[in-house]
């Protein structure tokens, strides 16, 4: 109970919010790192996933990528990438997180195109659409709800995983928790709990927000209980 009181005290100190390296700074870093990672993930995974779905090939590859990345610990990528040619700083952290954003984006893009009613595809062919027109005018719009699901899953996962960037001093809200553990339980207990609360709230609110976006992007007749293809996170 003592730690909880300490956490409330810590959160109530305005300097903990506005100081350099305070909550607001860390929140900004967290959001920026996550945004960049998800953006890279989208740029890489969506074209490939849509194309594989369009061609109707590579389902095995998609599953394989998901399974292998599931087994890779985030901590390992975060520690290995800075020691490669990338060097230290933001880029290795962003790249490490982007790796974990790819599987849900890829799998949902692929499934989104595969799940399209074959009759819609036939009709488009009959109207004389070329393969590329079919992809951009029929398959892409119909796959949007799936893309949104993938985007939500990937974003939540990246925001959750970004907390681990603090292991390699990479910034983000996780830094508050790590610093608390560095202080030791008796002094830093409140800060640890406060940091945990902030990280958890951020992840849950991103999840809620994107769930609303996903709902808005899904046409009304399609809003049946679609099995959300969530990939277990490795964060």
């Amino acid at each position: 109970m003592n730690a909880i009181e300490q956490a409330i005290t810590w959160l109530n100190d305005p300097l903990n919010w506005t100081n350099p390296g305070g909550i607001l700074d860390r929140l900004g870093e967290h959001l920026w790192i996550s945004f960049a990672a998800v953006l890279i993930g989208c740029v890489v995974a969506w074209p490939i996933g849509l194309w594989l779905g369009h061609a109707g090939r590579g389902g095995g590859v998609v599953v394989l990528i998901s399974n292998v990345t599931l087994a890779i610990p985030t901590v390992a990528l975060l520690t290995i990438l800075p020691l490669t040619a990338l060097g230290f700083g933001r880029p290795p952290v962003i790249l490490a997180l982007a790796v974990f954003a790819v599987p849900p984006l890829l799998a949902n893009a692929y499934t989104g195109v595969r799940e399209i009613d074959p009759e819609a595809r036939d009709a488009a062919r009959g109207m004389g659409l070329s393969g590329f027109q079919l992809l951009t005018r029929v398959e892409l719009p119909l796959a949007v709800p799936f893309l949104a699901t993938g985007f939500r899953t990937a974003s939540v996962q990246v925001v959750a995983t970004a907390a681990l960037a603090s292991f390699v001093n990479g910034g983000g809200l996780g830094q508050i928790i790590s610093a608390g553990f560095g202080l030791g339980m008796s002094v830093g207990g409140g800060q640890i709990l406060a940091g945990a609360l902030l990280v958890a709230l951020l992840a849950l609110s991103i999840e809620g927000l994107l769930a609303l976006v996903e709902r808005a992007l899904t046409p009304r007749p399609l809003r049946r209980a679609r099995r959300s293809r969530r990939r277990p996170a490795t964060s």
Partner: protein, 235 residues
């Protein structure tokens, strides 16, 4: 093996000859540390998955018997799953104490819960109604039907959940290195803190990925042994 090729190419990348990505010397000199880290990793993973199954399977059965409980049970485990692992660890550690691996274990169990509950419930809910009618007609009671009909038929789905939970738990254990109980994660993070000792980092990473894939294969093998339930050997 692809990881081996990667190791070889990484060796060429190593800029400092004194700090290679892989060294037999390191393995020989530190075999005790590596083995004890591996043992800790396996034991944490096994305990977490067994505990999560012990909690998750009864929860899935509850949700299967009493439909109104399905929503709350799935929502609760979903929220626990969305909370970042670091935050989960930071919530648990001040309350349990950081001197025992119990904090890591609790966080791992909470995390694996959703995968097990959701898959088991999906398996139970997809049983063919004819089979259930037949079981009822033969006079099975609730419990007898559960153990002789429902659960054996749901084994494939339950096993899928266990495999997913095992692989992601293996990767997740590394997060525990924040408080010194991370199994192979201690090697990864220890190497990073110990002047970026690449051999230690990569040893931890490779063993961790290999362990995840090995346990996955092992469970798949167990599944093959369990599947011929038609012999009636399982009571």
């Amino acid at each position: 093996m692809s990881s081996r090729q990667w190791m070889l190419s990484s060796v060429q990348y190593a800029d400092a000859p004194g700090n290679p990505w892989f060294s037999w010397q390191y393995l020989r000199d530190n075999s005790d540390t590596v083995v004890s880290a591996l043992v800790e990793h396996v034991s944490l993973t096994a305990q977490a998955v067994v505990l999560a199954a012990a909690v998750g399977l009864p929860l899935a059965v509850l949700a299967y018997w009493f439909r109104p409980l399905t929503g709350p049970i799935l929502a609760l485990s979903g929220v626990l799953y969305t909370i970042p692992s670091l935050a989960l660890l930071a919530f648990v550690a001040p309350l349990v104490g950081t001197t025992r691996p119990a904090s890591v274990l609790i966080a791992l169990v909470l995390y694996a819960l959703l995968l097990i509950v959701r898959n088991a419930l999906a398996g139970l809910n997809q049983l063919p109604t004819e089979v259930l009618d037949a079981a009822q007609g033969m006079g099975y009671g609730r419990f007898a039907r559960l153990f002789r009909v429902d659960l054996p038929l749901a084994v494939p789905a339950i096993l899928t959940g266990l495999r997913l939970a095992t692989v992601s738990t293996v990767a997740l254990v590394t997060v525990g290195s924040l408080i010194g109980y991370g199994g192979l994660g201690d090697l990864i993070l220890g190497g990073f803190r110990n002047n970026f000792y690449k051999a230690e980092i990569l040893t931890g990473t490779v063993l961790c990925v290999a362990l995840g894939l090995l346990l996955d294969l092992l469970l798949a093998g167990v599944g093959r042994l369990l599947m011929p339930w038609t012999r009636g050997a399982r009571r």
